[in-house]
């Protein structure tokens, strides 16, 4: 206590024992344990991936390179063949995916989420086959048309603009038909499953993974294990609901269900006391965030070129700062933390950015819940409204790229961006999803910025003392360092693989260590943290934070600004400054 002030001053002192006594550090250890384990599984298979990529190059490379005037059929075939190199397709990868799988999709029969007999799987496959045959026929027809159009363009040496244009249109149509046929083909391979045993096994694994470190931190393992049964069961229930067909259509995902079911329990029959030792929001969330860091790969920001970087990396921080200022100065948000979390989820990328920012500034669980809730509601609305607006008002030649960039830069959640983009067309889907992806990379920058700001400015203001470097280090949320370290290390490995052979980074990191390793766990950890938030949230407290509708006003203001600035920047960059580069997309 500072003398005479009556203010509690948290004067920290660094102790090495923190590294095994604090959850921030354990989040880093568990996260890196899983990442390193995934590297051990996949990295020895880089030779096989190289072979697939080299074979694709040998087969289609020359034909793909014969012109740069249009994207020929051979160019697309080369791209498709290279995409087949995925380290996660090795047998261990397939087993890992199956073992860590969530509940399956279902429509009317809830049992389909856990179990499917061979007879039912066969019947489903047969039904899907009929659809596939139709789609395949359309694809074949579109391919024949594309081939004919390409031959005409090639006969003119790819120099006739009209021939090139009609060939490109025909090839684009073939690609759309191929996408639909590929998705239909996937559905023909329905296999029987029984997820119950795997879900139990996975629960036991998670219980050990989190329980042992917690026992070192002072929570008895037996008590944690008992509570974990409850938390895990609710988590499975959240996945069960989020995988129901209608809920999927509306984009109502696991975050909503986890918080909703948790809150429903805690505000009606109450969270059982014996479950509380496993209600460890921060612990699960931080571990998930360290895993998330591994997929924040810096090389990806180059993907959409200079125009895209301005849309995603210039508009986003501008919107973040102006909205934060608006929250503090104009509507006087009572909580700086809630202000920062809403700014992050609205301007960066929804739920994942909200989680990172909330942990970085040590926001209350109710504040995170509120921010996530706002983001989910507006995502569902924007997913429907934006494509309608674009189709109805944008010039046809700008719907795909300008529309895609606009949606990618403004709709919060990646899945909703993909759905809305796909509604406009393949190109819009790709542009929208890529803009969202490079915006996702900003999570690391924003989380670090928020952590630094709250540690050095806000907390100093709250405690009334100036802090030195050691104090900053003591207060700084350490998991952010784990998050950033994972991002830097994996960015370097990714770039290393790509410089060895173009496309190898994707095969080994994107489609190996990450989607075949860390991603399999991250979703589970985030959903367990959301369940914990719900189980510990009092509805009345949540209402308090919503007082005067300020969070809603803040979100609406920020999102409106985001919509205007993103559209403006996308137009200027894609059509005024870099029109020629845009034409190559």
């Amino acid at each position: 206590m500072a003398e005479g002030s009556g203010i509690v001053v948290d004067q920290g002192k660094w102790e090495w024992s923190e590294m095994w006594k604090k959850e921030d550090w354990w989040a880093i250890w568990i996260g890196f344990f899983l990442l390193i384990a995934a590297m051990f599984v996949y990295f020895p298979h880089s030779g096989e991936m190289k072979e697939i990529i080299n074979k694709a190059e040998a087969k289609y490379g020359q034909a793909a390179d014969r012109t740069s005037a249009i994207k020929t059929i051979a160019w697309h075939k080369l791209s498709d063949a290279k995409k087949k190199a995925e380290a996660r397709k090795i047998s261990v990868g397939k087993w890992l995916k199956s073992f860590t799988g969530k509940t399956h999709g279902w429509k009317d029969n809830p049992m389909d989420a856990f179990f499917m007999s061979k007879e039912k799987a066969d019947a489903k496959a047969d039904k899907a086959k009929a659809k596939y045959v139709k789609k395949k026929a359309s694809e074949d027809l579109a391919f024949a048309t594309a081939l004919a159009a390409e031959k005409i363009a090639e006969a003119a040496g790819f120099k006739d603009v009209a021939f090139n244009s009609s060939a490109s249109t025909a090839i684009d149509k073939w690609r759309d038909a191929k996408l639909a046929a590929s998705a239909a083909k996937k559905k023909t391979s329905v296999k029987p499953y029984n997820q119950i045993g795997k879900l139990i096994g996975l629960g036991v694994f998670f219980c050990i993974l989190f329980g042992i470190p917690l026992s070192i931190m002072g929570v008895p393992f037996k008590k944690f294990a008992l509570g974990f049964v409850f938390v895990y069961a609710v988590t499975v229930l959240a996945w069960f609901f989020s995988n129901q067909a209608t809920m999927k259509h509306y984009g109502i995902g696991y975050a909503f269900w986890a918080i909703f079911i948790g809150m429903l329990i805690s505000n009606t029959v109450g969270t059982p006391k014996w479950a509380l030792p496993a209600v460890q929001t921060e612990y699960y969330i931080k571990t998930g965030l360290v895993l998330l860091g591994a997929k924040i790969l810096f090389e990806k920001i180059i993907t959409i070129g200079t125009a895209g970087i301005f849309v995603a990396w210039v508009v986003t921080p501008t919107v973040w700062l102006v909205t934060y200022w608006f929250g503090q100065k104009i509507i006087s948000m009572p909580s700086k933390r809630l202000n920062a979390v809403i700014c992050s989820d609205m301007s960066v990328c929804g739920v994942s950015a909200a989680i990172a920012a909330a942990s970085a500034c040590r926001a209350k669980k109710e504040e995170l819940t509120l921010a996530v809730g706002l983001s989910l509601v507006f995502t569902a609305i924007m997913m429907i409204v934006m494509p309608i607006v674009i189709k109805g008002t944008f010039p046809v030649d700008k719907q795909m790229i300008l529309g895609g960039a606009w949606m990618g830069g403004t709709i919060d959640a990646s899945g909703a961006v993909a759905a809305a983009g796909a509604f406009l067309g393949e190109k819009a889907l790709y542009v929208a999803a890529t803009i969202k992806m490079i915006q996702n990379v900003l999570i690391g920058v924003i989380a670090f910025f928020v952590a630094l700001y709250f540690t050095t400015k806000v907390e100093t203001e709250e405690t009334g003392t100036k802090v030195g470097l050691m104090e900053i280090w003591f207060r700084f949320p350490k998991f952010v360092l784990g998050f950033m370290a994972a991002s830097i290390v994996f960015s370097m490995i990714y770039t290393g693989f790509n410089s060895e052979l173009d496309g190898l980074g994707r095969a080994m990191i994107d489609k190996g260590t990450i989607s075949g390793g860390s991603d399999l766990f991250r979703g589970w950890f985030f959903s367990m943290s959301f369940v914990s938030i719900g189980l510990a949230t009092n509805f009345r407290e949540l209402k308090e934070h919503f007082k005067g509708g300020k969070p809603l006003i803040l979100y609406v203001f920020g999102q409106s600004l985001n919509l205007v600035l993103t559209l403006l920047m996308a137009y200027i960059m894609f059509y005024v400054v870099f029109p020629e580069l845009t034409a190559t997309i």
Partner: protein, 113 residues
Amino acid sequence: MASTEVINDSRAKAWVKLVFYCFLIWVFGWIVGPYIENNISTYKQIVQIVEERDIDSAAYMYMDSVGSYDGEYYLTDSFKHSKRDDYGMTKAFFAGIISCFLILGFGWRFIMK
């Protein structure tokens, strides 16, 4: 005896509330939701695309969504294929990244005081 009855009564109310909310979920998932899907044409089309292409419209991160990988691949290859010198680590590209940090620095200095 009376206090036990009160506790049992509020407990029963709590369970009734829980069952009622579960009923509401059912109403949304099986009646209201499908009704909206079938009666708003744009929504119907989006649902069709989501189903056909197997898009996880509830995904929160780019890696959970199919389009991101394919999009990244498509765009990177498109730019490389065009062999233009204004793509890649150009001055303009770095200007975009530096702008981001300058904006944050400006905000730190003047907005977040």
